[in-house]
Symmetry: C2
Subunit: 214 residues, 2 copies
């Protein structure tokens, strides 16, 4: 693998490719071409080849890609050839929804510990997990379960303090659902999930359909 | 506006530009260059100019963009110069989290009605909204409140039936949180929010940092 900056759009597409290949494999398909992948996903075949070329030579010219091999390679590139232990911070409605979210465990992500700072919640059980005290239990739990990733589902007001605690405990990757920008040191990756931006793609399309049809 | 296919990545970036411009405006900044926008967002200035060029001529060569004008133009392009009424389907943990999500109303999205099919939930109140019966109340409520968009926060098993009901009621844009692919007619846009793919960008980065550092 060359040491070069991979565009985030490429990484996002790797996720999409791997899901498509998973389905193809389930359907018994043995080889696919970049054209077939591209058509299914709505991009150009050249883009598919460019994305994969960052990571080596996978296909055979004129034959295409072996579905199982390519899927396994992409899973390895994404780090999904193993399972990841996740800490969830925040046992409110969103936290409860995320604990029950089937899509995580399917992709190898296990929420192994849940934390909150609310004394009324600490010690209660959700989905067979006891809610732990973020101030008292975070560091030792992160070590005990070898946790690298955390999901922050707390209010905007609490988010920076929670993230500071996570960084101190050794967490290297964070998904932030709080509607606020958070600072982290350069060796930690944080991504904000902005649910409104999903709606904006819809309004753009509806808005422009109306413009076009006039 | 030309009738041409706008890449989805461009639409996503418009959202990001508009948030950046909003902050700049709050900070009293009057003009920005494509370089400044690009640097803040981590893309090339050429990409910024290309994204905006789909929609017309906005900046002045050598001067840059007027922050307020560009923000307002982008908001209009995204359809965010007005507010949108949203139907939420599913009053479980995720539904409850979404009703309380501050990020929607800030961007002009109002959840005006909540539906479920569970008799134990129908009639109960969450956040000053009575939970309505999807089978009995959907069509008339969509008309009454002029609802164009819906958020589906139900289980995978129920998702296709719910979406069929939404389409029948006249909904044109749908965000689907259920971990399953859903079919819709060609005049309806549906987007699946896959929360696991957010984690995969983290694991990719952690995985490759480890590889690089060896």
């Amino acid at each position: 693998m060359k040491k070069c900056k991979i565009p985030e759009a490429t990484i996002n597409r790797l996720s999409i490719y791997s899901r498509f290949l998973e389905l193809e494999e389930l359907n018994g398909v043995v080889t696919v071409s970049s054209n077939e992948i591209a058509k299914k996903i709505g991009i150009t075949p050249a883009q598919v080849r460019r994305d994969l070329a960052y990571f080596g030579e996978f296909g055979t010219r004129g034959v295409g890609y072996n579905v199982k091999d390519l899927k396994e390679n992409i899973m390895r590139i994404l780090g999904l050839h193993k399972r990841w232990n996740i800490a969830l911070i925040g046992a409110g409605n969103l936290g409860r929804a995320l604990i029950n979210y089937k899509g995580f465990s399917e992709r190898g992500f296990d929420i192994v510990a849940v934390f909150d700072n609310n004394p009324n919640k600490i010690g209660k059980i959700i989905r067979d997990k006891k809610i732990l005290d973020i101030k008292r239990d975070l560091e030792k739990t992160v070590k005990e379960f070898n946790i690298n990733l955390a999901i922050v589902a707390v209010t905007a007001i609490n988010a920076q303090e929670v993230v500071d605690d996570l960084v101190k405990a050794g967490i290297k990757g964070i998904i932030n659902f709080a509607p606020i920008s958070i600072s982290v040191p350069s060796d930690v990756i944080i991504r904000r999930v902005d649910l409104a931006s999903q709606l904006e793609v819809l309004t753009f399309n509806i808005q422009n359909k109306n413009l076009y049809s006039k």
